[in-house]
Chain length 375, copies 2
């Protein structure tokens, strides 16, 4: 199967999705506050209640500082130099709610904003900014019992190394020493890695909150790196991507390691796979290749299932497909309708006013989790 | 007790320690390779077999790029601009073995090297570079059973939030469901945070290797953030540092949470505290204030104990004090001799040819672990 056109499209969406604009208000509200992702004690970047972002970068002898974040297709935000040696500027319009990657161009070189934390995306650690969302409550850090996110190093003979994964264990996992849990294998997108779902996605906080409200069963989430070949920066890397090696790592090495080292319910009904963007493509391929391993499937801005390809295979308990409203939401809606018509438990979810970005995927996980492992 | 002078000294050591030089060879060996801490696919920075570091930064319209890393007191390494728009340069002499923080100054602004991973130090995420060490085997990623490092969020009433800690559980912890383990509480230095001991220190790999060789008992390590008040960047932050609030978090909130949520041997004999630099100062204060909680103490480039202050308190099983040979190693040696003379089990360790940097502390943990919990 040739995924090149689809991967190219996903990469394009990922780049364009960064800087979609909402309707531009007539005045810019004067209520800028530090972004929640700033490094300790850093005043900038700031965001206001309308979703504008404001930047301030010290570079006294530089001629030009540009921020990659801004209005779609207009090349980001060019900062203006002040007499104090600081470059400042505000996005031309409001940004979409949620998390955005960005970087600076300082006199022609690519650097991160020293004011913010870094997040792995676009095959590099990028600056991150958070535009407060109306529904940020779903991933807020609350005074509820918290699960743990642990880094594991699992042996991988096929790639001749120990590979890293992160494992979310739900609240109570340590105390209830004989209870067994279902497992969701959850993949990141192209250019990201196994840190994305916790750092950018707040998967652990989303689950902690859902579980404390009794809305989701407690389950384990496993997140690992979805590429096994040498990946060089740039879109060219996708051309060389082969899923076979990753499938071996996931199904022959990671799944057995998790089942041996965590208290899992080790059957297909209690094992799900999902992923965002490229991780959705991986989910699609691997669940179709190994239907005996996974009982529920989730594609988050990452392709569609159709009845034909599922025919004759072990029937999934759930097929979840989602997209941001700025992507092509009719695709997931139509696919779900079609699958339901042929007897599948298929669900479409569309995140309003978001694109190919993490706010879509945070919301998607929040919708998906309550539907998982309910049988 | 007034720690200001000691904190100021530690901060000074931390800054100076970055760029100590060894003897300069007459020729620079032409065997530069990528630093092991580079971002995926990044060719620079590079290091050679003698410990020189070489940098290459794209900034076509910049006038000046400087690297903070270089010979002590000579202001780092100034890069030279080439016709291709890249600035390049090599440190004037070899660097000490091990991990070094650094950053760039690009036209007067402070940025990280886009080629490397970032590490939290100096109250900001800094670039990191690794000079291959002759004893790097102690923290190498090997094909041995690996423990897990998990992020926990523990409730803290005293600071009115959920606070983050990392917990290393040794290999086999998940499988051996009734075994209980001793615990080492291990603190970072000033300007660092709870990520330092895993990221920069490789504490998990050091333990995995020691345990697989039968040289250390398996135990849990807990690492949390050692400052609780608002910390602003700059040395001034230390002036406002008060240990009381952190002591409350550690002894009244974190220790009970760990004992409730992990399979610990919850008595003083099986609970140790250690820390590097400022974390050593914290260890010193807290173990003297709460001798009923901790049975073994470790100060890594972080002060000394004397017999007088220990008098009349529950006797520690072990007092471990270490320093790099470029610090003041006689201090730890003399203190250990004195303590041994008054009947304490005190050990001094000096790391050769290293300063107030992580190579000293990696080696210190490697020496300390086999001595812990042996009774």
């Amino acid at each position: 199967m040739n995924y090149r056109p689809l991967f190219a499209l996903l990469a394009l969406l990922a780049v364009q999705g960064i800087s979609k604009a909402q309707t531009t208000p007539s005045t810019v509200a004067d209520d800028f506050k530090q972004s929640s992702l700033n490094q300790p004690g850093q005043e900038y970047p700031q965001v206001n209640s309308q979703g504008y972002a404001r930047f301030k970068i010290k570079a006294p002898m530089a001629d030009s500082v540009k921020v990659s974040l801004g209005l779609g297709g207009r090349g980001g935000t060019r900062l203006t130099k002040g007499a104090d040696g600081y470059f400042t500027g505000t996005t031309e319009g409001p940004m979409d709610e949620g998390f955005h990657y960005y970087h600076l161009t300082v006199d022609g070189g690519t650097f991160n904003d020293p004011g913010t934390l870094n997040f792995y995306g676009s095959t590099r650690w990028e600056s991150g900014i958070e535009i407060p969302a109306h529904d940020s409550d779903i991933y807020a850090l609350k005074d509820v019992p918290h699960g743990h996110v642990q880094q594991i190093l699992f042996p991988s003979k096929s790639t001749n190394t120990s590979r890293r994964a992160y494992v979310y264990t739900p609240p109570g996992y340590e105390k209830e020493r004989s209870k067994k849990y279902p497992v969701l294998y959850l993949q990141h997108g192209w250019g990201e890695d196994e840190t994305a779902w916790s750092n950018q996605g707040h998967a652990n906080l989303i689950m902690d909150n859902l579980i404390s409200e009794g809305k989701s069963k407690p389950f384990i989430i496993v997140m690992t790196y979805g590429m096994t070949n040498e990946v060089r920066p740039g879109p060219g890397a996708l051309r060389n991507f082969k899923i076979d090696a990753f499938q071996t790592v996931l199904t022959d090495e990671l799944v057995p390691y998790i089942d041996a080292n965590f208290r899992t319910m080790a059957d297909r009904v209690h094992r799900a796979m999902g992923g965002l963007s490229m991780g959705g493509m991986e989910t699609h391929t691997i669940t179709l290749a190994k239907p005996e391993l996974f009982g529920s499937y989730a594609l988050l801005s990452g392709g569609l299932y159709n009845a034909k390809e599922l025919e004759g295979k072990a029937k999934p308990n759930l097929i979840f497909m989602s997209a941001g409203s700025r992507e092509r939401p009719d695709g997931v809606r139509n696919a779900a309708t079609e699958l339901k018509g042929t007897g599948y438990n298929a669900v479409a979810y569309v995140s309003e006013n978001t694109g190919h970005e993490f706010q879509t995927w945070r919301r998607s996980l929040h919708e998906l989790a309550p539907m998982l492992f309910t049988k």
